[in-house]
Symmetry: C2
Amino acid sequence: MGHTIRDVAREAAVSVASVSRVLNGTARVNPDTRARIMAVAERLGYVPHAGARSLSIARTHAIGVVLPDLHGEFFSELVRGMDREASRRGLQLLLSNMHADVEQASHALRAMRGRVDGLVIMAPHLDSVTLLKALPRTTPAVLINCRAEDDGHPALRLDNAAGVEAMVRHLVDSGRCDIVHIAGPEGNLDADERAAAFSAAMARLAPGREIQIIPGDFSEEAGEAAAHQILARARPVDAIFAANDMMAIGCLMALREAGIDVPGRIAVAGFDDVPVARYLALTTMRVRMAEIGAQAIARLAASMDQRPTEASVALHTPELIVRATTALPRNQTNSAGERNT
Amino acid sequence: MGHTIRDVAREAAVSVASVSRVLNGTARVNPDTRARIMAVAERLGYVPHAGARSLSIARTHAIGVVLPDLHGEFFSELVRGMDREASRRGLQLLLSNMHADVEQASHALRAMRGRVDGLVIMAPHLDSVTLLKALPRTTPAVLINCRAEDDGHPALRLDNAAGVEAMVRHLVDSGRCDIVHIAGPEGNLDADERAAAFSAAMARLAPGREIQIIPGDFSEEAGEAAAHQILARARPVDAIFAANDMMAIGCLMALREAGIDVPGRIAVAGFDDVPVARYLALTTMRVRMAEIGAQAIARLAASMDQRPTEASVALHTPELIVRATTALPRNQTNSAGERNT
DNA sequence: TTGTAAGCGTTATCAC
DNA sequence: GTGATAACGCTTACAA
């Protein structure tokens, strides 16, 4: 099963040490022997055994990525961003899906010991304290959107509060105060933060209005269902702010089907700015997932190379993207098309 | 940096062999010592070093995935499918991006030696012969959409010819014979196959009509550009068939902006059925990327466990998804909405 | 049932 | 310059 360094050494009539030196360029070796070794390696089609090498030098040049079953585009964007940054740095990504329970998650983490130099962990739905016990305290790790009982690990967090506030402000500014929020799955960090921020923002920006929150689960279907529920009841609604784009889209489809004028009668907004949002002209909060992924890798790399970096928490602030689904009513229109704020 | 099996052995006053046996359940050991060992391991927070273990047992339980910089949704879907299947089987995925040139690609492959039990390689843009020389002939590998100079590796291929033919037939059946094809980047296997199949299908299904092909690169912008080019010239066109969805979407946007009636005056069709396609009601050929990814893992797992499997090539046939952008003209309508064939 | 020791394929520290 | 050889952390005959 593949040649070893010893095969090369034997064929070239040298010691394994010399072969290693040549292949890694770690020390001077006589040009002649060097050439001979290269030739043999080439002829034998020798490929070094990275696993053994890692064991020896105690460095794998790989970083472990532990993600939950992510909804839709998120996975894609996040991993793409990481992958880009990782391959720029000559690092490989060891992916491991972490399913719902902490059990499997910590198993996944343990399985990484000795295979990676660091970890990127995203677990918006789990108790990170339990989780972190599973990982050797020596392994550098950066946390993305974990419930941060600030435990000393560098972390990346989404500023959900700021995002939600910006959106509520936008809606209120355009004259819509009866806003209903469709929440994400309970227990999910982002969902919870967004719902809480919604209540807070409403209390501040539209005092006196009822705070309406409908439960959801981040799925398109939940958005549809919520739309139907909203249409069926009597309370006034002039805007729907879903906790993520997919639910907003479900809403949009349901409203369109019901013949409701959007944004004329009801405005609709989402959160995330997934690619589809642009095509459907959905107003939303843009979250640059790829950038967050790349940043995670960058910070991890830093804390792997140099001295342990500051355990700071970097906050990513979403950006308001105004599109047609919340366009201003005709008589108030002061700008057209897409506008960033 | 983390405890070793020896630490546990020492603390528990047993040999490393016993610790190993207990932790792997590979042999009977006295319940008492067993308990003692477990306790110590727990207390020390011992996590086995997977790298060392792999070296010893010559099995990594990881599979390497080498992909090009994939366009859009593809990456997402493919990796998601693989990830799903891999984690079902307790396998980890070692991701490595392969950039344009064969040099980097083969480097990426070599870096996997000793870290994975098998490889999934996708390289629609490279010469797989050169590529495959880089990998130890002993490592099991499955190829996805590689130019298959059938070299003995199990492979997964897309039946582009069948897909293109189905679409051309659909267009012709709905009375559109002046079809222009927007091709993908030259050198890309799928792009080339689709363009060739287009010519063939036209010759067969719309004999006598000019075979019009406009070059593109799979990007939305290319689709827009092509649309403008088409509108600017005199030749009659009643349908545009883009080599992928993103270009079809670019087209769609450009036509919409130009006030062209779709599908009334010009029908538009794509290829891939990316998620956005449904929302834009784009007729397309559905390619189940996630399924292909999962299948790749499944086949790889098979050829890793058992005897070397047959080197067959599995063909994935895309499915025609008819949506509004190619709906039949009013007077011929015989079905409504979305329809699968 | 338990322990000793020889690998697994590298790298790195010594001598020479 | 080059070559033995001891790690690296684990598994697994083979003995005891």
